[in-house]
Symmetry: C2
């Protein structure tokens, strides 16, 4: 059973746009906790809509994205970053006054800009990012517990409606998340180092392995040890979602990647020169960070 | 209960040199499965020897490394790579004829060279590498199950005594491992990409985070998302052990690091130029590797 925390929250009609890993997980939260009178689902792919109906985390599938949001109190846009703008444009004329629109994307400056540009003044835009997921994708991958004990970061623009922000906060709390607000720029920088760069590096090292000569590659797969196995899990994440993350959070990712490259050069030189003292010193301070994270209960 | 697989194996006396994570885990295997008449333990640190005795995975602690191997049938050297040579020199005059000496280090060319150089002709040197571990260190970190379903790679030099190799193989099988033999050079290359490079990169990205400005660093620890959290776990591994890995498996690590750097540059340029097609293509092929690993039952 999902944890039920936070203030009560209920919607007459919720529309989920995008029925992949996050959309389906949120659907299960809404369904299992009876948080919505009706859950309407839209996905660009007919097969995904049919699967979502069959699984039962939505009550009704709607093939037209505009129609899907009619009379909805809450619209949650669960699509890759570059699809957020087009989706907002598609739903804008159909939203009822006072509706809340939120998203789940990894780049909050872009989500904010897309919403501000496309959505009418009479709806409340509350960009958000539930920092939770797995390496699996699609409507069958979702589960209500995915959000438990994870952080959700909301980035409401200045002047946002306080009640709307509170409603979105309560929704994610009901999903079991810890909810924090910060400005979009800061979110994007923090996520660049905690999530985007680790994914980029995992993708890269697995890519390096893919290019190895045939017989060595076989051994790499066979003997995948601790480190590499973890990287392949990360590098199995959804390609479209991650392509969009790197295209949209470009500046912050390039900034962090530049710093990483500098640090990697220092490591490389220490290895080449046989400088054990530098390596030992680096490896000791990284161990301390792990302790901080365990103390912050994020491990 | 540990799994008991493989042919029966029993020793009158086993000496474990180095009583950290691997030494203590192997001690528990020997103890719980009654594989040794007596388990003698040596560690350079008196406190570690005392703790090992107190925990009970050795029967007797010996402060003198030479004395510790007297009349031992099997000696397992469980020390960081750079300590293997000195340990072999210290025990050489004390080994009985026909004794088997094996190790657990991550660089097999160096282990082989150190053993060949230091050990007398009348003992059997069988370098080995149980590819198993956790981010924890010390005699209290060990547990018999650590080896279960993992690979152990033995790298006996040409002309090794077949019976001695079989005995070491049976030992690790009793610990629950799958045992394979290959030549030392190949082992070092495969481990460079599956284990050493992932650790180096994890250490580096966590190091990059350590250097962030204070308030951002606080947020990084607070919001440690999936990717980064996994990296901090890897980067919490024993600094001495890993320093030695990079100093000893230098050539293979630098080779793989060079390839990784090329691939990372391609990713970086794709991000900078907004080249989504290249990113999508890369992220799709890395996903396939994960499937291969799952099929190889290494996930």
């Amino acid at each position: 059973m999902p944890r039920s925390t936070g203030a009560p929250v209920h919607f007459d009609r919720v529309t989920l746009i995008g029925l992949g890993l996050v959309g389906s997980s949120l659907g299960w939260v809404l369904k299992k906790q009876h948080l919505a009178g009706e859950i309407v689902g839209h996905d660009a792919k007919p097969a995904v809509r049919a699967k979502a109906l069959e699984l039962g985390f939505i009550d009704r599938a709607e093939s037209d994205v505009g129609k899907s949001v009619e009379r909805a109190d809450l619209v949650v846009v669960c699509v890759p970053m570059l699809a957020i703008g087009p989706v907002c444009e598609g739903i804008a004329p159909h939203l009822k006054a006072g509706a809340i629109v939120t998203d789940v994307g990894s780049c909050k400056t872009l989500a904010r800009d897309a919403m501000v540009k496309a959505l009418p003044k009479h709806v409340h835009a509350v960009p958000g990012h539930p920092v939770a997921g797995t390496e699996h994708s699609g409507p069958e991958a979702g589960f209500a517990e995915m959000f438990h004990q994870r952080w959700c970061i909301l980035t409401p623009p200045p002047g946002s409606d306080a009640k709307a922000v509170r409603t979105v906060r309560n929704l994610w709390r009901r999903a079991g998340m810890h909810v924090e607000t910060m400005d979009a720029e800061r979110h994007d920088l923090v996520l660049a180092i905690t999530s985007h760069l680790p994914h980029l590096i995992a993708y890269t090292i697995v890519d390096t392995a893919v290019d190895l000569e045939g017989d060595i590659k076989g051994d790499v797969i066979k003997f995948a040890a601790g480190g590499f196995r973890d990287f392949t899990r990360i590098a199995a994440s959804d390609p479209t979602m991650w392509r969009d993350v790197f295209l949209t959070n470009k500046e912050a990712v390039l900034e962090m990647l530049g710093r990483f490259n500098e640090d990697l050069s220092v490591m490389q030189r220490a290895i080449r020169k046989g400088d054990g003292a530098t390596l030992f010193d680096k490896f000791t301070r990284t161990r301390a960070i792990r302790r901080s994270i365990i103390q912050a209960k994020q491990a």
